[in-house]
């Protein structure tokens, strides 16, 4: 049953990220592993982190961990609390809501959120 969920999540379409007026094609949807992230290099040199959760929903936030300054959020572990997906920074483990970018452990802090499309 669980395996089926993962299989449906692996489509063949592409993942696109809103960048200014355009949609930037990031990768094939099948490259994403449910529960993990990938880093994306944006044309302006900035970085985004793209995640797919267990149900196949795709999210994108900034890749920079505001607590350390390192561009590592894409390497964090995805989880969910109360039905809301989050990523935990791999450095000091602060959690960020994937839908809003808000840090769940420090309400003063947040990261940017990108609109994302996965066909």
């Amino acid at each position: 049953m669980a395996t089926a969920t993962i299989t449906t999540a692996r489509g063949t379409g592409s993942v696109r990220l809103a960048h200014g007026e355009d949609w930037l094609t990031v990768c094939e949807r099948g490259l994403l592993i449910p529960g993990r992230g990938v880093a994306v290099l944006l044309p302006d040199g900035d970085q985004a982190a793209v995640f797919m959760d267990r149900s196949g929903q795709v999210y994108a936030i900034g890749n920079r961990d505001p607590f350390t300054g390192a561009y590592v959020l894409s390497r964090g572990l995805l989880g969910s609390a109360g039905g809301r997906p989050f990523v935990a920074s791999p450095l000091l483990k602060q959690r960020f809501d994937l839908a809003t970018g808000a840090c769940l452990d420090d309400e003063e802090v947040s990261v940017p959120v990108f609109a994302v499309r996965a066909d």
Binding site: G35, V38, L41, Y71, G79, L91, V111, V113, A115, V116
Partner: protein, 875 residues
């Protein structure tokens, strides 16, 4: 050579303290002579009553003969089992300073002037007192046999005695202990632990004549003989013979026989130290002991005596610590102006001698009129249990040898009518009639659970955790025999769940995965997760934990052994995901395995070349290997291709798994070495490499007792002996250092490996998430004894399975990096950017420092990015 200049001797403590010639101030001065266990307890009792300098209520001066403050003399033998003198200390480091107590270490009292109310110390210092407390303890009795002062004769009382025995034993092969009582057997255990062939000579017809009866003595004798000690009962020591150099060569016994021995320890009882009291004219008993009344006051109302030096109002001299503690409390209460009386004490004891449980309580010898014995005896198994029952069915006392499990519940029931037939309590499990498990729930609230500190069940049950009980009531901090019962009285924690997703602890999840052969995280979450978490994604706590459990059990449950296969890839922390250690700037470090710290020049050159070619920062680690820092994700496979080609494999520095097995150079090169520690370290490191565990595992092997590999700071440490290997477990460095405890000694290579197999698998099975062996050993009920029972004596019948699990691991091990670089699919993840696989990460930059690189942190130090508006998420 210049003549030494003579200066008055002052102790370090004295130089900082108030001048002793200080005039009497408004507060009274209490002088305590003796800083042993009872002396320290007296000081604590004063502090509890606010009778301290810090509280402005008294000046308190303590004169201590030994060179160190009070320590746990009851556990003296554990010094040989791996505890250091510091571990035995009973005094919190800031106790004296916090309460303003003046402690003079190594400066005993030499005279008391009762008329002038002063005490003179050996240093010459004179202390006036208003109240004097004598806590001088006792001295070992040495029978007046010829030769008793020969070189190689010792007593067994202080840490200094132990250190002297330890040193002398290095040149000895055979030792004898005169006295087969409690302390004598402790001493014999210590000699055996030092590698000596050991004799015990007891004048009485049985061992431990005071505590156990004939049947108990027989059970004890058999077990102790099975351990390789030679016991001579019913014979006295007539002479200690010495050679021309004055050193012990043997003993002549009263039955005409003789023993060739190199070392003799006298442990034939103790006598109260009442010399000081005699000299100042205080009343002493005919057979010694300072006469005190029920308030612990001597014949001079300004002078008190407590502990083993006192002859109490009931006409006895107590040689146990619990009555001494009672006296300390009584004296402190009386001095504080309260009312208290010491009228006698319970002589119950439970101890573990050479691994054998021995307990006696109440009227152990059936002295009461009309009492009847209920006895179970199995000399073959070395088990003997006797309950003494009064005519009305009251439990009067008992003796337990070989299995004292029930001591904790039976002792508090003494004086009550047993709720079940007594024979049901002594019969072994599996026999028709019993046993009936008489849990601590059966005890009345007023039952004393901790007899060292006189704490009742009711007082214990006011608390909900063991640490809290220890802190608030001191129960369990004395001899420790009641810890198990206290544990059973504590309510189970409300929710021991791992995280918000699972209501189970890590060890429970381990059992679920093992028995149901679960190989998938989502399957486990949906079937065993909390209701609200099912169908979700788990969290950063449970995912790696379950990933680790599945990896530990992979060969057994049929999961892939490669931690990044399939769904497992999503469970691993980033370190495991990239098989490298994430550093602060987003770069990774690489640690190739260097088993035992042994490396060829060719391999060293390869590491150097790789570091140079990729511009990596290199540093020697604490685990005898080399860490290469500053690699980008996309460089990891290139670097590892070079390392694997040169014969290196993953060092698992990134995993919660075995890190290194350090070694000293051992017998091969070192003139002191007694075993090949390097070979053993390599064998162990290769055996346990890749083993996923609740936390990292570190180990070391030392080739001799000098311990250059620091094995006792490791999760499992091995120290060579002339006979084989000693295995220590539960050591740790870091923020909470802990010396490892001796699990077993003089093991052969095969025995050692088998025991470590079992120990590690039992730890993996039962530890919490991120719980090192040191914390685990402190937490689990029964502690080290329980672990020893399980892995050495197979008390749970688990050993075969534990060994099989480890065999599965060893057979299933594959190098993760070799598997990775040979598989294009697995290599795909090692790119920084999914949309630009060839682009290096611009945020990972370095600047030079001391001819190497370091992270360019200025690059990372930018402001927190402003939040962009969420324009909508589609999928």
């Amino acid at each position: 050579m210049p003549e030494p200049t003579f200066e008055p001797r002052t102790t370090a403590a004295a130089s900082n303290a108030t001048p002793h010639a200080q005039a009497h101030t408004a507060v009274p001065t209490i002088v305590v002579v003796g800083h042993g266990m009872v002396g320290q307890r007296f000081l604590e009792s004063l502090a509890e009553r606010g009778l301290t300098p810090a509280a402005g209520a008294a000046r308190v001066v303590v004169l201590c003969e030994e060179p160190r403050p009070a320590y746990d003399r009851v556990r003296l033998t554990s010094y040989f089992a791996g505890r250091s003198p510091e571990d035995l200390s009973l005094v919190e480091p800031d106790f004296m300073a916090r309460h303003g107590i003046e402690l003079y270490v190594g400066d005993p009292a030499t005279a008391v002037d009762r008329a002038g109310r002063t005490v003179t110390a050996r240093s010459g210092a004179v202390f006036p007192y208003d109240t004097l407390v004598l806590a001088t303890g006792s001295y070992p009795f040495v029978p007046p046999v010829p030769g008793k002062d020969a070189r190689g004769c010792f007593v067994y009382r202080t840490i200094e005695d132990l250190l002297a025995i330890e040193e002398y034993a290095q040149g000895a092969a055979t030792g004898a202990v005169v006295g087969g009582g409690l302390l004598g057997l402790e001493a014999a255990g210590a000699l055996k632990g030092l590698g000596l062939a050991t004799h015990v000579v007891e004048f009485a017809p049985r061992l431990m004549p005071v505590q156990v009866d004939e049947g108990g003595g027989a059970a004890l004798l058999r077990t102790i003989q099975d351990m390789g000690l030679t016991v001579h009962t019913g014979v006295g020591t007539q002479e200690v013979t010495a050679g021309g150099d004055g050193a012990v060569t043997g003993m002549a016994l009263s039955d005409g026989s003789s023993l060739a021995v190199d070392l003799v320890v006298f442990s034939a009882g103790v006598r109260p130290r009442d010399q000081l009291a005699r000299e100042c004219g205080l009343a002493v008993g005919e057979r010694g002991g300072i006469v005190v009344d029920e308030e612990c006051r001597t014949s001079d109302p300004a002078v008190f005596a407590i502990g083993e030096c006192a002859l109490t109002a009931d006409g006895r001299v107590y040689g146990l610590v619990a009555p001494g503690y009672d006296m300390a409390r009584t004296a402190a209460e009386v001095i504080a102006g309260g009312r208290s009386a010491f009228t006698g004490a319970d002589l119950s004891t439970k101890l573990k001698l050479l691994g054998v449980d021995v307990a006696s309580f109440g009227d152990a010898h059936g002295a009461a009129e009309g009492s009847l014995d209920v006895v179970y005896s199995d000399a073959r198994a070395g088990v003997y249990k006797k309950l003494v029952i009064g005519p009305d069915g009251t439990l009067l006392g008992g003796v337990l040898v070989g299995d004292a499990e029930q001591y904790g519940t039976l002792r508090p029931l003494t004086g009550t009518v047993l709720p079940v037939a007594p024979e049901q309590l002594v019969l072994p499990a599996g026999s028709g009639g019993g046993p009936v498990a008489l849990g601590p729930g059966a005890l009345p609230d007023e039952a004393v659970i901790c007899s060292c500190h006189n704490v009742t069940k009711g007082a214990i049950c006011e608390h909900t955790t063991l640490p809290e009980v220890k802190k608030c009531t001191k129960a369990g901090t004395g001899c420790g025999s009641c810890l198990k019962v206290i544990g059973q009285l504590m309510p189970p924690p409300e929710d021991a769940g791992l995280c918000g997703c699972f209501p189970y602890s890590r060890s429970e999840l381990y059992e679920i995965v093992r028995t149901l052969e679960v190989t998938s995280f989502v399957e486990l979450l949906d079937s065993h997760g909390r209701e609200e978490a099912r169908g979700g994604d788990g969290c950063e706590v449970c995912k790696p934990t379950v990933g680790s459990v599945i990896a530990s059990l992979a060969p057994t449950v049929g999961a892939s052994g490669y931690v990044l296969d399939g769904e497992q890839a999503a469970l691993q922390d980033t370190n495991d995901h990239f098989l490298a250690n994430l550093q602060r700037n987003g770069s990774y470090s690489i640690v190739p395995r260097i088993p035992g710290g042994e490396i060829t020049p060719e391999k060293l050159i390869v590491i150097g070349e790789v570091a140079r070619d990729f511009g990596l920062y290199t540093k020697i680690t604490g685990g005898q290997r080399i860490d290469l820092f500053g690699a980008r994700v996309d460089q990891l496979p290139l670097i590892w291709t070079r390392l694997v080609d040169a014969g290196f494999e993953s060092g698992h520095a990134y995993g919660k798994s075995l890190r290194t097995v350090k070694s000293c150079v051992g017998q091969t090169w070192c003139r002191y070495g007694v075993q090949d520690s390097v070979k053993m370290a390599i064998d162990l490191e290769l055996r346990y490499r890749g083993l996923r565990s609740p936390h990292k595992l570190k180990s070391a092997v030392s080739g001799c007792a000098r311990e250059c590999a620091e094995a006792r700071g490791k999760d499992f440490g091995i120290i060579a002996t002339a006979q084989g290997w000693n295995l220590y477990v539960g050591g740790n460095g870091g923020a909470t250092p802990r010396h490892a405890d001796l699990l077993a000694q003089d093991l052969s290579d095969a025995e050692l490996v088998r025991l470590i197999d079992r120990f590690l698998m039992f730890y993996i099975r039962t530890a919490d998430r991120l719980e090192r062996t040191s914390a685990w050993l402190e937490r689990i009920a029964g502690g080290l004894d329980h672990v020893r029972d399980v892995v050495v004596h197979d008390s749970l019948g688990l050993c075969e399975e534990l060994e099989r699990l480890m065999a599965d691991h060893v057979a299933g091990y594959r190098d993760e990096w070799a598997e990775t670089i040979n598989d294009p699919e697995r290599l795909r993840r090692f790119v920084t950017f999914v949309n630009a696989p060839d682009a290096p990460d611009p945020s990972v930059r370095f600047v030079p420092e001391r001819d190497q690189i370091k992270p360019d942190l200025e690059l990372l130090a930018g402001p927190v990015l402003a939040v962009r508006t969420l324009e909508g998420t589609a999928s």
